[in-house]
Each structure stands twice: as C-alpha cells, then as structure tokens.
Symmetry: C2
Subunit: 284 residues, 2 copies
C-alpha cells in the first residue's frame, strides 16, 4: 500500500493486521476520551489500562512507569494538564526519551480537497526547530509513514518559495542538506525535497505553472514546516475552512503519546489512537 | 458599509463613487496584464498609462517619475522583473517611500468558506517583521480597510495560541502593545486584538469552545501574520484547497503598487487593480 485515503483505511488496516496495543490512559474523566477509548477497544486495536487518581501527577507517573517496564505500548492523555504529563514523560525516573531524542508534534489530516492523508509537523510543540531537530522530525515522519504502510513517503520541506536563501532564511540551506541526507539513504526509503511552497508540494499543476521539477511531483504525503506558526496556521486553516478530520500524536518518546486537547472531538481522539497504534514503539 | 462580501462589490463601489485612477503600467507585454488593464479601463475605474521600453529599467523609472510628479495614482507591474521595479520605487531619484515607510505585501481573499473579504499581511515581502514594522503593517491595513469602506475593521494579530509568551515568542508582547495603541486611537477607528490563532480570529464558535472573549468575536476583517512563512502558508492553502480568489498590492509607497506574479490569472490582476484603486494615495 502506498497511499492511505482516509482514517477508515487506517482502522481497517490495524484490524486486518490484528494489531492491538496496550494503552495507558491517564485520567479518562472527560466524555470525549472515554468515548474514543471505548470505540477503539471495541474495534479491537487497543487494550486500555485506566490510570486514574485524584492527584493527576501520580497517574501520569504510573503511565510512564508502565511504559518504562514495557507493560504498555502507548500513552494517552485524558483530563490531566499537558504540562504534568509532559514533565513525567521527560523526567520521571529517567523519563521516556532515549538519548538525543526530543518530543515533536505530528498531525495527520483527512479532507476532501486532498486525495490522501496528509501528515505534518510541527504545529504545536517546537517553536523554531533547529537544523538538528528538523533532521529528527524528518526521521520520525519517515518512521510514521512507513508504519502506516506508505513504502516510499514523499516528504516536503516547506518554505515560501523554491529558492534556497541562506541570508534571509538560513534553514533553507539546512533543507538542502536534509535532501542530500535522504538521497544517501539516511532516513530509509523515502523521497525528500525542498524548499517547496505549500502549493508546489501538494499540486502537480502548481509545479507545472512555476516550471519546477520535483520528485514529490505535487503528491506530498508529509509536510515539514519551518516553524510552529506556519504549521499551526495550516492546521487551523484546514480545520476551519476545509472541515479537515485530524489525528495527532507526540513522537520522540519510547512510546507514542496521544495528547489531543480538551476541545478536540471524540473522533479526533479516536483517529489519534489509530495513528499511534499503527506507529507502535518504532522509536525505541 | 461595514463588510464587503466579494470583489464584485469592490468594483461596484468604485463605479458608484466615480473613482478613476491613473495607472502607470510598466511593460504590459503579457496577456494577463493586458487583459486585466483593459477590463479595468472598460469598467472605468482606471485610466492606464502604458510605459514600455526594451529596457525595462527605463520603463520602471519613468513610472516612478510620473508618481513623484503626481501624474499617476498607482503603479502596476507587467512583464518586468520585480527586483527592477522595486529598486526604482525605493531608490530612483529619491524613490517613492516617505521617510520611515517600508514596502509590505497586503493580500485580500474571497472564498466561499468565509462570509466576507479577508485581508492579510505579509505573505510575500518582509520575512520577519520587527515590532516597528508590524506597527506600520497594522496602520497600513487600517488605512486600506477604511478606504474599502469598512468603518471599524477588526484586525487580528495571529499566533498559535491566545497566550502572550514573551520567552518563546517575543512578538506576542509586542502584540499586547499594539492592542493598547489601537485602544488609544493611534490607528483611527478599528478593533485590534491578539494574540489569537487562525480559528479564534475567524470563528465565533472556536472562541466559544475555547472559552475566550475577543472584541473581534471571530469576525476578523484582517489578519496580521507573525512572519512570512505563516502568511505564505495561509495564502497558498486557501488558494489551493479553497479556490480562493485573490488580490494583492504593495503598501508603503506614495502610491499603491500592483505587483502580482507572472503566474497569476488575469482575474487576480484585475481584482488587485480594484483594491489598489479603492486605496488610492492614502499613504502619502
């Protein structure tokens, strides 16, 4: 399978593969979390372990312990402040971050104006990724796409144009390095190109109009944004104006972390569980 | 009139007001420019002055001269490299920038998922506006909205969240200052709020879900983006995925400058002429 049309296909694939992940659910005290967990368990791709405590810090630390001991494959945030869960993931008894890893936010959107799932990072966690952080983001993204069954994901490094402009945008020089690293096989099987803008990443027609050739050919599976604001604007524009369905997770820890926000619909939490279940513990 | 539904309304208003601007058209050698200029002249809101020369630099300098002498009200780029026209505007015999002014890109979008025209800056010219540049952007935006007949424009200062975070995002502290300046009347009649994200700027429902109160109330007329990448991603996302119709101009010079790109449709150039004609020479 080389593209995934929508989230239903993700769930179908999990079921066909007989995947069932053990999930530490931290303080499932809100309806949306309870509903999403119940649905995912009914579909059979997760086996939830409920961790509830009037002190949410203790529940978060218990989840981290279980992940450290290999007793769960994923963590999901319920009604607990993100800071508390993040602190436990980073620090509690050595935390869950392998040396040199970092937490980054990866989202996945499904909307009718694009013909397949579109992954992107980072709309929510790292404000201004350094070159080293961006290299890791690309690595995490390739791992996620591979886990989703996309054999050779097309990953676009986003900028406002297709020109490297080291003076005004030093990261565009970094993009060229990342493209070279990808060609040398450093990320496994994938196609990475950039700088490309949003349109030349996602539209073969736009590429043609600009007279540009890109191996992505307007068929990006994933977008790497230069900073959190551009990622966040994309995230919110397609949600508000295209009714995009979303899933998201934190990558970089030993286990994927589903950390949607309180305002998110049960559907978003459910799809996030599906994406995280597909990823499994590949970052270990 | 307090909102403008679409570009047709802009043209109707120009015609009703009997506005006709003299436009220096620099090297109209491409079909899209010729078509847009002809249509705008037929509708009666521009009176074109064609400046053509095998040396485009001379045509650009002639346009700047005419604007300096008050013989034209606007400049439009045809088939001439942007750098050449910009250089003339900035430097030729003192150029066209009043002291302390800067050139910034302002765009205007019309798409069915939003109920009125949506203005935004800066998707194309200033990479990372300083606080002082942002203050000017807000001033230019208010002037444009007023010229369009929007009596009290609602202007949103975009960020990924609604929190001022001086440590990670120093510009959000600047946002707070700009909100205060607006309250003190520094920009004339307008409502400025921020930081707000894209959704809480453009959706009352999103505001409500987040439990936030904003005088913009999800009804932004204009968005000020923190940097060029976020503005550019917005620009290209709504074009690609919402089929947005666009107009754009450069503000900051003594006369508005229509500087669309070669790939833009005649329609975009035509709407840009209409927006620029509505603005007139208010920056003088």
């Amino acid at each position: 399978m080389n593209t995934i049309k929508d989230f239903n296909e993700v769930v179908d694939r999990l079921k066909a593969a007989g995947i069932c992940r053990r999930v530490a659910v931290v303080s499932p005290r809100d309806k949306a979390t309870i509903k999403a967990v119940r649905q995912a368990a009914q579909e059979g791709f997760i086996d939830p372990v409920t961790l509830d405590d009037d002190n949410p810090k203790l529940a978060a630390e218990k989840a981290v312990s279980l992940a450290q001991n290999g007793e769960v494959d994923m963590i999901m945030k319920g009604l607990v402040p993100s800071e508390i869960l993040l602190k436990a993931i980073i620090r509690y008894k050595g935390g869950l971050l392998p040396d040199g890893n970092m937490l980054t936010h990866t989202a996945c959107a499904s909307f009718s104006e694009y013909h397949k799932l579109l992954f992107y990072t980072d709309a929510a966690v790292i404000p201004f990724p350094t070159h080293e952080q961006r290299v890791r983001q690309v690595g995490y993204m390739v791992a996620l796409c591979h886990a989703m069954g996309i054999e050779e994901p097309r990953i676009s490094l986003i900028h406002c144009s297709e020109e490297v402009d080291e003076r005004h945008f030093p990261y565009t020089a970094g993009y060229r390095e990342i493209v070279q690293m990808a060609k040398q096989g450093q990320f496994g099987k994938c196609v990475v190109d950039g700088p490309l803008d949003l349109k030349t990443s996602c539209s073969a027609e736009s590429l043609k109009v600009k007279g540009i050739v890109s191996p992505i050919n307007g068929e990006a599976d994933a977008l790497i944004f230069p900073n959190i604001e551009s990622g966040n604007v994309f995230h919110k524009t397609i949600t508000l104006f295209n009714g995009a369905k979303l899933a998201s997770l934190l990558q970089g820890a030993r286990v994927p972390v589903v950390m949607t926000s309180r305002a998110d619909a049960p559907e978003t939490k459910y799809y996030s569980l599906a994406i995280a279940a597909a990823l499994g513990t590949v970052n270990e």
